[in-house]
Subunit: 332 residues, 5 copies
């Protein structure tokens, strides 16, 4: 799908859309540049544009197929860049990675978007509004603003993940060790891993841009890219930190589960001892009474005047003795 095609002169958009087949012409004649935005284009849709602006075939193929790493490639006077904006869907704890490919020439930018990132839309809105004088001009403005917003998005995602980790921490350390946090921790870790794959490879291209050594890209923009690079480095730091933190919290969770388990075992042992002690005490009258319940003809005690009371006394004493014994040894 072709999104938009506008001509920008002196940082302002000329009204209206340029027909696609006049775009290259418009780019050459105007002192500004043309920006063509494509969304999930088919090979045929992009072929027209590629032909007109002489885009490199391999890069075009990458842009159509998507699933690239963030990268920056120079093909003669065309620069090809891939950015991977992310969005953290908080209620699902999922990192949603989309993809933006940019072709930069002296007087044109072709952008290709996969997934539903709003980065390019916001760049275009900034340029179209013409409110703030852009810090850089021409196609460089587009790539700078896009990279900046993408990296800003990384930092937002990191903040959200930090909150989720805080939440996990309070679950792990607030609970009594009996809940299962492994799944949540693991799944967040997996998302962080995907996030890392979107961010880390971007550092090298941004460093190149910050060094101002890329053709087509305006050298004056180098400090701005240095700023973006710096933020990307911070994001990378943050992601690595989160990854380690999640590993650590899983370890801590394991330790807590272990401690809790051994607490249960201790309690179970104590219960068992208490139960057994009472059972032992209860067995005394049963056993003794059983003896005197035998029907032998000749059992001298049975005829004693206070035999019964004596036996009851013995039973009570034995029970009390056992109770005292168990008490002393800590079973009761």
């Amino acid at each position: 799908m072709i999104g938009d095609c506008g001509v920008y002169v002196d940082g302002r958009r000329r009204p209206g859309r340029v027909p696609l087949d006049q775009a290259a012409e418009a780019a050459r004649t105007a002192s500004g540049f043309v920006w063509i935005g494509l969304q999930q284009p088919t090979s045929e849709e992009i072929a027209v544009v590629a032909e007109e602006f002489g885009l490199p075939a391999l890069a075009v193929e990458d842009a159509v197929k998507a699933h690239q790493r963030p990268k920056l490639e120079v093909y003669g006077s065309v620069v090809f860049m891939v950015l991977k904006p992310v969005r953290y869907v908080d209620h699902e704890e999922v990192i949603d990675v989309s993809e933006i490919a940019l072709f930069l020439g002296r007087d044109f930018v072709v952008t290709v978007r996969h997934g539903d990132s709003d980065v390019l839309g916001r760049v275009r809105a900034e340029l179209d509004s013409g409110d703030s004088k852009p810090v850089v001009d021409g196609p460089t403005a587009v790539v700078y603003r896009a990279a900046d917003l993408v990296v800003d998005g990384y930092e937002e995602a990191i903040v959200s993940i930090t909150e989720d980790i805080d939440e996990i921490e309070s679950q792990v350390f607030g609970g009594d060790g009996g809940e299962d946090h492994a799944e949540r921790i693991y799944k967040l870790k997996r998302e962080v891993a995907e996030f890392r794959r979107a961010v880390l490879p971007l550092n090298a291209p941004l460093r190149q841009l910050a060094e101002g050594s890329i053709p087509v890209v305006d050298k004056a923009a180098a400090p701005y890219f240095r700023d973006v690079h710096d933020h990307a480095l911070r994001a990378s730091d943050g992601i690595e930190g989160h990854d380690r933190l999640l590993s650590d919290v899983l370890q801590a969770d394991l330790a807590r589960v272990g401690v809790r388990h051994s607490k249960i075992a201790v309690r179970q042992n104590a219960d068992m001892r208490r139960i057994s002690a009472w059972a032992a005490i209860a067995l005394v009258p049963t056993a003794i009474a059983g003896i005197y319940g035998m029907n032998f003809e000749y059992m001298p005690e049975l005829t004693w005047r206070f035999g019964y009371f004596a036996v009851v006394g013995v039973v009570v004493s034995l029970c009390a003795g056992l109770y005292w014994l168990f008490r002393r040894s800590g079973w009761l």
Copy 2:
């Protein structure tokens, strides 16, 4: 075994097979190049070819013995390259690694295949069909297409492994922690390790090719190799990610096993308490009845009019009391 021996001129194959002893001659006279394909050749079979094209002895030995790392070596005007195609056998969760050795000269390619990869077959089919104009010419076309297909194969394998990991995840987190996932996770990890050994060392040769600094190889092909290199990097990323993910899922599994175990312990403790409580309740009538079952001649209670009912009443009250006690303390 000698697979095929064909002469290619202007990207098209001349009909028929060239006899092996005329191959070098054909290569020199034709404006194109000769491609000789060998399959698990014996030292003798390859010796003929090596002699004719002046292949370096050490590289020839490597090509026959196989079990090399992916690599690229320059011997004067002959380039020796080793590729390791993989195939993921899904139902066994096994990575099947084969090996391709290529000797590149100005006007010849000698390929040696070990294991049953279809990469070379597909390259030859592409060239023979002559349908699509190849992007590069001569021996370079063979090595580019082979490397491209090999790396494509890596990406396919990664997709399959991703699916298996998803499956493992749903087993680990779907189950109740009582199944044993360790074996499956470990074995997949081992396969990923073997996969890594096939992929990672390829990055350096591909970067060299992408820089266009290798003799014999057509400099115009550099952007194409850059593309392949890029995909290989992505594959490397993917493999590293999978490896980490499998470690993480094993950790998470361990944590789940632990949590489940302590849940069992909790339940066992609860069961033991409940059982003991009932046993205690049941011991009361037994013990008391035992007392009044004694045969002493003088047991005043026995002659009471309502002694029996009193005792039954006491027993019932005691049992009820115990029940209430256990209930209150949560044992019942």
Copy 3:
């Protein structure tokens, strides 16, 4: 908030505060330099200063927003540096990270502080007192003293963390494995991770300063920065060491929990055996007495003269036998 604005000539402060709008003028005319200190300034507050001294816009934005990595950036004749002082709040075991941004020009320093670090206050006090001849002059003195005090603060924090780790160690190894140290260890580990993020990125800027390759900064100060760099490296070593140590102590804790758990299991098993043995011994009289408590009309033993004594004898012998048996097999 604007903290202070003073003119320093020959390492001594001229009395009084300079109004902000005369600061740049004062800096140019005096042979010394102006130091403007801002605290959590709003964009408007800093805008005045930025305008007057020509501070780079991007850096100004970073200084206002804070949450930067430690870094050093050269913008023409202005150097922008970010330092992250830390304070270890011992009773909470929390690393409190604040942030200092410095703009250095030939004849001015602008410092921006976020959080409540006392580093800049102490630097100013040192300069104002004029007691000790500073080793370096001009703006360089400010950045050197600030960096030095910040890194000193790192070393103090490391000492405090070392003490906490010692405390954790004696808890882990002193206790009986039943307490839960995971939370404390984890939380300290998280603080160490945050600490690391403040320290590690500082090494690169300090190395640059130690090499004396940064404009504006006095080359004569290089050895002093080398000293600071050396301390920062030692701090980095210390942090890495602490991080590893905390991981190790968590592992050791896990092992102890495991050992303790299996000790409990052993004891429980022994208890169970002892209990069961006594129960078995108690069951003997009950069972036998039960037999002779039956009311059959024809039970020859009942009429024997010494039947009763015989049975009691048998019971006692059986109990003694069982006792001996259990003793021998280690159950009692």
Copy 4:
């Protein structure tokens, strides 16, 4: 001990042994080179040789003391190299590391052997036989053949270790989790660690040799050393892989032990429930019969015609009821 001292001209050995004091002379006059082989020499034994050939004192000391890392050092026109051959003693699962030191000059080689490696013996046998024309000449031939055989030995050891790991895997996953594999895994891991120390440091010297930048060593041998280097890299890969695999298998073993443990706990819980259920059922007749065994004078039920049968009926019903109850709740 002095092993042998032979003169080699044109890749063939001159018959007989050269007396040690004529060796240097022979080396200078002959167009070939002298090879002196020493075995665990004393300082005195090596001193003679060192003097004659001007061997560097520090290297000589290293060669006598042994316990060096694999390394290559250039002392003017003498090259000193240390190799560490290994032998995997399969039935003990032990890596046996020996040590070879080589001094290379233009016209001599002095080798010093510690431990019982057969590498030097095989090199000498190859040279002495003179069967196959060596690919390189002079002292270089000795160091190339020695390095090649040492690295071949690494690959053999790796194959053996692979087999042992396979065996461990089938033990771990074949068994029921009740055996203790930790010791075997750990000990193999320790051997792999020692193996790694023998192999990894060799990569740097071999790369230098492969680059042909070492004096004395024949530049023409560079491709051969590249081949050896390549094999050493593969061996390093293999060792790293084994190390990781052993860690993984230990983790998997841990997980299996955990799963098995919780299976035992489940079974124990089920057993306990079953046992308790039967005990409860058995307590019913005991308790009820106890009641009617009491000797109260007035117990109306006792005089009922069918009291006995009623009670037996009640007992049976209660037992059946309990049975049904336990059955329903899954305890029986």
Copy 5:
């Protein structure tokens, strides 16, 4: 404290101590050099020496404060080096790290010692004895000998730690898994970590010295420093190996604890079954006898001639049947 102050000419010490204020003079006039040894000096004590020889202030401060990393810094014509000798106190399993700072000039060495290392004492003894011609001359001799002895000390410590690890291994694998090795392993690991901090940073300075690129230090000593560097690398290898080994042995210990725990659980389960089986058997006579102990007037069996024997027979049969049943199901 000032230890000693001697003048060395031609590698021999001139008799007597030189007064401190004549030391610099003596150094300049003698063709040799002066060596001043200080022990834990106060700032005042060192100030005299620093003044006389023009020692750099920052380095002097470091030397007084101690707690430095091993390092080498060049201040014009003075070289400052820090070494950290270690001593392994075997009976406490503790690494005792001391510190040596050396200032090297053309004609002087100032050494500062913290802690009780005997390294400097031994260097001085070697020089003073004048027995063996030192391999290098002047201040370089001091730093070479000191570095050499320090690194020798590392190797000795590694040997001792190896022995302790062997001991731990035999404890872990010799015991039955019920002892707690975690503390010992952890504490040794902590010592190894401290050891590592003393050793690893030394490699860079030693490499610089081995390259002969440090002013003041005699270039002829480069091979000797290369030797020391080589030993330091080996020590580093050893330390890393020990660290990994200790992690591995802790893991193996964990696995053993787990296996042992599950063995206990198995035994407990078996015990419980055996106990329950016997209890069930014992309950049979009790329950049945209880029935016939009831005092119902009408219980036909009681009047049977052989009722008693029948019941005893039934009881015995039931018990035997149960025994057989339990036997068959493996409970007995």
